[in-house]
Symmetry: C2
Subunit: 198 residues, 2 copies
Amino acid sequence: MASRETIGPHPTRIEILKSAAAAFRRLGYHGATVEQIAAALHMKKGNLYYYFHNKEEILFACHQYSLERLMGLLHEVEQSGLAPDVKVRRLIVAGVHTILDELHGTALFLDLEALSPAHLKTIIAGRDQFDQGLRRLLEEGVKAGVFDRGDIKLRSFAMLGALNWIPRWYDPDGPATSQEIADRFADYLIAGLRVHEA
Amino acid sequence: MASRETIGPHPTRIEILKSAAAAFRRLGYHGATVEQIAAALHMKKGNLYYYFHNKEEILFACHQYSLERLMGLLHEVEQSGLAPDVKVRRLIVAGVHTILDELHGTALFLDLEALSPAHLKTIIAGRDQFDQGLRRLLEEGVKAGVFDRGDIKLRSFAMLGALNWIPRWYDPDGPATSQEIADRFADYLIAGLRVHEA
C-alpha cells in the first residue's frame, strides 16, 4: 500500500495509481474525487493533472497496469516449460496477488462503464488476450491428459469470474491472507479441471 | 424478455423490473434514464413514478427480486431431501437461470455503489444469507463424505464469483444457451468439491 511514509514529494506514476485504486476501493469510482486522490498523496490537484488529465485517465491507467502485469505473468508461465497444471497454478496464484496486492483489488473490477469508449475497447481487447492465454493453457492440459475434456471457454470464464470477484468480498483485515486465498483458489479451481475416476 | 408484444398498457411491477434491467444492461446504470425505461414500456415517465420514486428504487427492487428468487431456490433445495451434491447442482443450475433469464443478468452485478446506504445494507445482508446457505450445503457434503474437506468459505466465494461474473461475458446471441452454461458450470464447480484420489 502507498503509505504516507513511503511516498516522497514526487510520487511515481505507480504510486499514484496505487493511491487512486485505494480511494476507488474506499469510496467507489464515482464517489472518489481527484482532490481526494491528490490529497492522499500530499499533492496539489494541479500537480496530479501533470500526470493524468482527469479521473477517467487514472482509471484507465489502473486497468492497463493490471492487464500488463497479468499478461507478463501469462508469458512467463507459457515459456516456463512446466507441466500444464503447474502453469495454471502459477497463473492463478500470481493473478490473485496482482488483484489483491498490486492495486487494492479494484482495477480489474471497477466500473468498466466509466471508461471512455476508446479506452474500454483497449481494456476489453487486453482482457480477451488474457482469456485466450488461459484457454491455451487449459487446452495444453487436456492434450497432456492432465485436464478433463470439457468446455474450455466456459471453464475459463468460471475461473476468471472466481478471481475477478475477489475484490467484492476481500477484507484486508479478514482471516485469510492473499497467499492463502491464492493457494486455496488454485486448489479448488484446478481440482475441477483434473481427470478423475467418476 | 419484456417485449413490446407482451407488455400491455398497464405493465406489472416485474415487467417494469425486467425492462429496467434490460436498459441497465444495455446502457449501464448511470447511462440509463428513467425516461428510457418508461419509453421501452410505452409508459409516461409520470406513470412509472407511480411504482418507483426514482431510478435507485428500481435498481434496489431488481436486486431484491433476484435475491428473493435465489433465497426461494435455496430453501427449496435445502428441504428437498436430495443428496448434498445434487442439492448444490440444483442450486447452481437454478442460480444461473435466475441470473441470466430473470433480469438479464444485471441485477446481481450492477453497481452496488449506486444504492443508498440503507438499501445497500439490505442487499448485502440478503447476499450474506445466501452465502451462508451455500456454505451449509457444502458442509453437508463434507459431512456426508461427498465433498473434500477444505476451506468452505473460500470455496463458496469462488463459486459465487464464477456465477456472479456471468453477466460480464454472457452474450444472448452467443453459442451457449443458459441451460448449457448452467450445466457446464455445475459440472466444473462441483468437480472441484468432490473427494478424489490424488
